[in-house]
């Protein structure tokens, strides 16, 4: 292992706390790893309290409590309270399933700053079909309950080949939910979403229309709802600045206590990730081999090493490089300058050659949709 010198290392900004991989939904685009962490290995309430305290001391500002479905744990309010006590702005990222008036009140009492609920579609049957569960109606009900409290509320909408054709309808739907903020996120191809890429990847026409619709909505809703959206990297010229750079801004602790620089890093071979049960967060941030491996520029191959964009996108995503080229230290193939960019180009070509398989046909029930499209995708399963 060579030595990767750190010239100026600042504190991480945020902690992503994946408190469980259990989830009542089975979304086909889930970014959790295909190898989910088992229930048995989950950190205890006390373990998480220690993690939040360390995160606060390390200078982190935000705790994003996510999963799986964080509400699958009975101690979420305690976790929120522990994160708040540690001085962290606390964001609960949830499907809403498992939430009721009583639990919502407990979360508010614990001081949750922000709640984010994801929606799969504006049309109930299609939403349930994508989630593999009857969840949509319940989510609407909960969004209304959340709005009774003074808490920041974001609706997240994952868009892809199957729902982009009615983006305007979906934005109109979200407006009614009265969110402060909307995230319109294209599915990113890791974990379950990579396995289902052919069914999820939009056509160029869908992407371009989508960008125009979002721009119009941003203008119309300015001052009322803030929209954050990102162009999917398969259709961009340069890769995404994944996580703001490896080991630069974020730390993710998975349900079993493993500390990762991003959601997908466990796919990287020959890397050992430390565990909060064995090492302090500060040591992992500053000293561990895993956080230093792709930090900064010294690991970069050409064309990144001499590229003008290297300080903006950091050579793109290490996990995507591994998943598509087999080499985690390659330039992200999403970059138009990457030697292996043809991998992206061929996926884009395939997605545009076949414009069938877009969208659920109207009037079908959730179960009918599942049966009619049984071979289209694989649903996320649950950990053992």
């Amino acid at each position: 292992m060579q030595n990767y010198p750190i010239t100026k290392l600042s504190s991480p900004l945020a902690l992503i706390a994946e408190v469980t991989h259990r989830c009542p939904l089975h979304c086909v685009y889930c970014s959790n790893p295909v190898q989910l962490a088992g229930t048995e290995s989950e950190l205890s309430t006390g373990d998480w309290t220690g993690v939040f305290q360390q995160a606060g001391k390390l200078g982190m500002m935000h705790a994003h409590i996510t999963g799986g479905e964080p509400l699958a744990r009975t101690d979420v309010a305690e976790l929120v309270s522990a994160a708040r006590t540690a001085g962290l702005y606390t964001n609960l990222i949830t499907s809403g399933i498992g939430l009721n008036d009583h639990r919502l009140a407990a979360l508010m009492g614990a001081g949750v700053d922000h709640i984010q609920i994801s929606f799969q579609d504006s049309r109930e049957e299609a939403a349930n079909w994508i989630a593999g569960a009857k969840a949509h109606a319940h989510k609407i009900e909960l969004s209304r309950a959340i709005r009774k409290y003074k808490v920041a509320f974001t609706v997240n909408l994952v868009v892809h080949r199957q729902n982009l054709d009615h983006l305007e309808e979906m934005i109109a739907f979200i407006e009614q939910l009265n969110a402060d903020r909307v995230e319109i996120a294209h599915a990113q191809y890791y974990g379950w979403a990579l396995a289902n890429r052919a069914a999820l990847m939009p056509t160029r026409e869908q992407v371009e229309k989508g960008v125009a619709i979002v721009a119009e909505a941003e203008k119309r809703l300015a001052g009322r709802i803030r929209i954050d959206s990102v162009i999917p990297d398969y259709y961009a010229k340069y890769p995404k600045a994944c996580m703001g750079g490896w080991g630069q801004k974020l730390m993710l602790v998975n349900p079993a206590g493993k500390v990762l620089p991003c959601h997908a890093a466990e796919v990287l071979p020959q890397m050992t990730f430390e565990n909060v049960r064995e090492r302090p967060l500060q040591w992992i941030w500053e000293e561990s081999e895993s956080f230093q491996r792709f930090r900064g520029e010294s690991w970069m191959p050409e064309p990144c090493r001499s590229c003008d964009h290297r300080a903006e996108d950091f050579g793109g995503c290490r996990c995507q490089a591994l998943l598509l080229t087999g080499d985690a230290a390659a330039t992200d193939p999403a970059c138009s300058l990457a030697p292996k960019h043809s991998l992206i180009e061929s996926a884009v070509r395939e997605s545009n050659a076949d414009t069938s398989g877009k969208g659920a046909t109207g009037g079908s029930s959730f179960v009918q949709l599942q049966q009619q499209n049984a071979a289209l995708w694989t649903y996320r399963t649950n950990p053992g």
Partner: protein, 66 residues
């Protein structure tokens, strides 16, 4: 420091003076009046214009409501 869902803003100087007064009690007009008094040497209309623009920016980010 103001924290919001996916970020943070470090406010110094006048920005901070404005935001510290956004307490849910004071009205827009009251905040302007207070700051016009505090920064008496500056043209009151310029103060009003600058603060309006600043607060509009914060509202666009959904950090404040007014």
């Amino acid at each position: 420091m103001v924290l919001y869902p996916e970020g943070a803003i470090k406010l110094q100087g006048t920005g901070r003076e404005v935001l510290e007064r956004c307490d849910g009690q004071r009205s827009f007009g009251e905040i302007i009046a207070e700051l016009q008094k505090e920064f008496g040497t500056t043209d009151p209309e310029k103060i009003r214009g600058d603060i309006s623009a600043f607060m509009e920016q914060l509202q666009r980010r959904r950090i404040i409501d007014y």
